[in-house]
Symmetry: C2
Subunit: 227 residues, 2 copies
Amino acid sequence: MPGLSADSFVLSDLSTAEVEASERVHGALADDLRRLVDVAIRTNAGEDDVARVRELVQQATAVLEQDASPDPAGLKFNHEGRSWNWGNTVVGVRNAMAPPVVLQWGDDGAVRSQVTLGAAYEGPPGCVHGGVSALILDHLMGETASAGHTRLTVTGTLTLRYLTPLPLGDVHVEARIAKEEGRKVTVVGRIGPGGPGSEPAIEAEGLFIIPRWASDESLPSDVGSLD
Amino acid sequence: MPGLSADSFVLSDLSTAEVEASERVHGALADDLRRLVDVAIRTNAGEDDVARVRELVQQATAVLEQDASPDPAGLKFNHEGRSWNWGNTVVGVRNAMAPPVVLQWGDDGAVRSQVTLGAAYEGPPGCVHGGVSALILDHLMGETASAGHTRLTVTGTLTLRYLTPLPLGDVHVEARIAKEEGRKVTVVGRIGPGGPGSEPAIEAEGLFIIPRWASDESLPSDVGSLD
């Protein structure tokens, strides 16, 4: 698999305490950016106000660019067994595009999440974009296949059945392992409006693969799904 | 289908010229925001710089919030046959989460797009999140099913086959109609690295449905896919 191997994981000398301090600082910025992206869609501001806002945004960008890596965040890990993928589109702590999705690992092996999706996640009028549901399900199902990050998996196939439109607002997602056979893990998932136990708007089934190279013992212990 | 009907489309009294002027102003802001979201992932800025940036972002948000709708952007249309969905996660002109995807409609009925995906679209280290590929394919395939916005369709099922990791950077997406049968349209799509003609990293097949209510003659002419 070109572009992906055991070398894709970068050992960092940050301690877990340092990682968590950094996540608090940059996670708060991502929260602010999420609000700005959202109101930029909903605003009726005229040309002059938008020009003023663009100046502020460009100033902010210049400050952050003074010292920035040219590379994406990637997946890093430390000697304490902590790993972090700050840029991930679904769960990345620094990524304002990520809703963000916070995973709840159940004792029953299921992975669940309660997410609020606003104006930036719209597809059909007032509804969650079908592809956003696919994005979240793909991620959550991959995490499920990784069985609590005890093994590394990649998506093989993913099938989504759209049953009914999903209104923007609170949504509940959950996934569980349906079958395991050698390096193949079948996961089923669903997303629906409101909280746990709601009727699904979309059902999904995915086949996740444990790649041969992922048995390499040099891999960090806490890696999980490569979504 | 709760939450979605012919009433979901809102007639606006904006002229097409006004819509396009507004798209230039707010589209430029979305471009700026996209750069800010990207560098917020890659920056090594320390706590003080991040605090300064948060102040700028909060000021910008306050300006836009002075006059903002509580509602998502929705899908609007005017008497000139122009429609717009500014908040759409894939193609929304005002949505900084949208890469954005600009559609190229081929004479052969295929829909193509050339997109550059940066740090905010990461899944596996250095690679496009599998769910982001699903998001873009779902949208492009839905647009394809709409046959140049001559009919309205919704996603029924979508199946994705992940062949190889897709590196971040330039990607090419294309889709075409494979079969039509009554209200069912089968579309195939692919996404791969680089430009047209590259090997696909992900192949997809989708079944799109023309809903019964979409034959309502009160629908605007330029609506297309409900993704």
